[in-house]
């Protein structure tokens, strides 16, 4: 009897109860979905409107797409130069952070130190204190080193703020590699350096991509450190430019170009997210599940 019942249930794909519970489950989920999608849709739509249309017809599609908003916004505000600055700073911070963090992580994971947990604890300070309390001291250090208002200080600060997280991720990756690899390298006559650079470092590519993507999002999206450490117009990063445009907007509104510039400044993040989102969520969740 029971078996038959089960079979019957399986054959009919959806009962009324299942449909109702399916809908009920999706209502709160779709509420969040809508609050995420709608603002971005409106941003994209309004980036193609003239100012008059923005006020008169905030809701509708743009009557005539103003592609000129994009060229106008980019040319007038000097955003393009700032975009180049951002690329330079982000690339520099990535290189510094990835190399120094994986070297440090390798020593912690495999260096056969007597007390690796001391180094670990030292780095933990950077993970458990909010970065924002370092704002004034970092400014002070930059002044002392006479590096205030340079792009290189921004590179070093980004790399340092992300160091603890990157090292922790990389230590986990190095520990997951089998020790036989190193032994084989040593038997083949490789020294310490060769073992690391030729064998171990290339093998941690997934770890490098993980810390690289998290680092990219962190550096690209930052404006607070850039705002604190950079004052010359020619050295500013892209979001400082966006903020300046937005502040100017309070005086003389120019919504279309502002929205266009926003989309332009956000594009790299969206591209990186589109390519790496699987690795982002999975890397994060596998780490969480492992504890």
């Amino acid at each position: 009897m029971r078996k038959m019942k089960l079979k019957k249930r399986r054959r009919s794909p959806l009962t009324l109860k299942e449909i109702v519970s399916g809908v009920l489950i999706r209502i709160p989920l779709w509420f969040y979905v809508i609050t995420i999608i709608i603002p971005f849709v409106f941003m994209a739509m309004n980036s193609l409107k003239t100012n008059q249309e923005f006020y008169a017809n905030f809701w509708g599609w743009p009557a005539e797409p103003q592609w000129g908003n994009y060229t106008f916004g980019l040319q007038r505000s000097g955003i393009l130069d700032m975009f180049v600055n951002t690329i330079f700073v982000v690339a520099g911070a990535e290189i510094v952070n990835i190399f120094t963090a994986s070297m440090l992580a390798y020593v912690i994971a495999r260096g056969k130190l007597k007390r690796p947990q001391l180094l670990f604890g030292y780095l933990l300070v950077g993970l458990l204190t909010p970065g924002i309390i370092c704002l004034i001291p970092v400014f002070f250090v930059a002044l002392i080193l006479q590096m205030y208002d340079t792009r290189s200080v921004l590179i070093l600060v980004y790399a340092a703020f992300n160091m603890a997280f990157s090292v922790f991720v990389m230590v986990a990756f190095f520990k997951s590699l089998p020790t036989e690899l190193e032994e084989a390298a040593v038997i083949d006559g490789a020294g310490y350096s060769q073992t690391f650079w030729r064998v171990m470092f290339p093998l941690t590519k997934p770890g490098i991509i993980t810390i690289g993507v998290f680092g990219f999002l962190e550096y690209w999206n930052d404006y607070l450190l850039a705002m604190t450490l950079i004052s010359t117009e020619a050295k500013k990063t892209v979001f400082l430019g966006v903020m300046k445009m937005q502040a100017a907007n309070a005086v003389r509104t120019d919504w279309g170009p502002l929205m266009a510039v926003c989309i332009f400044a956000m594009a790299p993040v969206m591209i990186v997210y589109a390519i790496f989102q699987g690795r982002l969520t999975e890397g994060l969740t596998s780490g969480a599940v492992k504890g």
Binding site: I25, R26, P28, L29, Y32, V33, T35, I36, P39, F42, F54, W59, T100, M103, L104, Y106, V107, G111, L119, Y122, V125, G126, L128, P130, I132, I133, C134, L135, I136, P137, V138, V141, I144, L156, A159, A160, M163, A164, Y192, F196, N221, Y223, L224, T228, F239, V242, M243, Q246, W255, L258, C262, A265, M266, V269, Q277, T281, L284, A288, V289, G291
Partner: protein, 318 residues
């Protein structure tokens, strides 16, 4: 006994001068290797992250104004000024209000939505995972501009919708009574999806045999959620809480600094925006700002300890 003798003989056997030299050389190589591997990372981290953390406390005992490096030691002067500053007390109150409520809102919603997300019949789960994670990678500057245009009292989307269904809109960022809740909403919107995805993964990792045996014992889905799912992911939740408390003080600053600037009349001022305003907002009182920064560290640690103590439960293994 025997072993000791054996090792001694082996050592003696190999103690030729060449081998000695080799061991020495090898040790030197190893030390050199360890140094050049750790030094760059440690130097960068120490100068730009570790020293600043400690230096903040030192700077808070000085009177330092302006970008020249001249400063005078004033002991606890900054702290007495701080305790007599009404803005400090108001921003402390706002800080506690915003962060405690935000934490409760984000984690309650994240757990509940994660339970819904891990429901078996949800075939479009991948879509939700991609979309819900997205707000946490969007640049904060963009988040602010987005929500400021949505919440604009005159042309904003939200008030237009409310007017259409016959309700009176609010001045979401300009009204002293609602501004804090608006900020909490935007903060929760930003960080909710991240934790939801995290908890969803933890729930999906629970062996389904546990749920099956619960079903056989007659537990409904609500009972399963509260008796099995939540207790089993509780340790993940607590670890995420710690992470959230540390990172959300930065997020709170970013959102308030751009959206309401602490206003109107300091109604949404929190300690971080207060610190920034005092030091970089034109007054250049960096010593005073450092005292506020130190109070932020204390408050954040207290919140973390409080929440960790309140959420302590027995740990279940599976």
């Amino acid at each position: 006994m025997k072993n000791k003798k054996a090792t001694a003989t082996v050592k003696e056997l190999f103690r030729s001068p060449e081998v000695e030299l080799d061991i020495k050389r090898n040790r030197r190589r190893r030390i050199f290797f360890l140094f050049y591997m750790t030094l760059p990372g440690l130097v960068v981290y120490t100068i730009f992250r570790f020293i600043p953390t400690v230096l903040g406390l030192v700077l808070s005992f000085f009177n330092w104004r302006g970008t020249s490096l001249q400063m005078t030691y004033i002991g606890f002067g900054n702290y007495t000024t701080l305790l007599n500053d009404w803005i400090f007390w108001r921003s402390l109150g706002n800080h506690l209000y915003i962060f405690l409520i935000n934490t409760v809102v984000v984690f309650t919603l994240a757990i509940l939505l994660a339970v819904l997300l891990s429901s078996k019949r949800l075939w479009e789960r991948g879509f939700y995972r991609v979309l819900f994670f997205f707000p946490s990678v969007v640049p904060v500057v963009i988040i602010n501009i987005l929500w400021m245009s949505v919440l604009n009292p005159n042309i904003g989307l939200l008030n237009s919708v409310l007017r259409m269904i016959g309700l009176e809109g609010e001045n979401w960022l300009g009204d002293r009574a609602v501004v804090k809740n608006t900020i909490i909403f935007v903060m929760a919107w930003t960080s909710l999806g991240f934790y939801m995805v995290l908890f969803m993964a933890a729930i999906l990792n629970i062996p389904s045999s546990i749920f099956e045996s619960a079903r056989i014992d007659g537990a409904g889905s609500i009972r399963q959620t509260f008796m099995i799912t939540i207790p089993l992911i509780w340790e993940h939740v607590r670890m995420s809480l710690l992470f959230f408390i540390v990172t959300s003080s930065g997020l709170g600053f970013n959102i308030i600094f751009m959206m309401s600037k602490g206003g109107p009349n300091r109604a949404s001022e929190i300690l971080t925006t207060f610190m920034y305003g005092v030091s970089f907002g034109g007054e250049s009182r960096y010593g005073y700002g450092s005292a506020i920064a130190f109070s932020i560290l204390i408050i954040t640690s207290l919140i973390a300890m409080l929440i960790m103590a309140v959420t302590k439960r027995e740990v279940y293994e599976y």
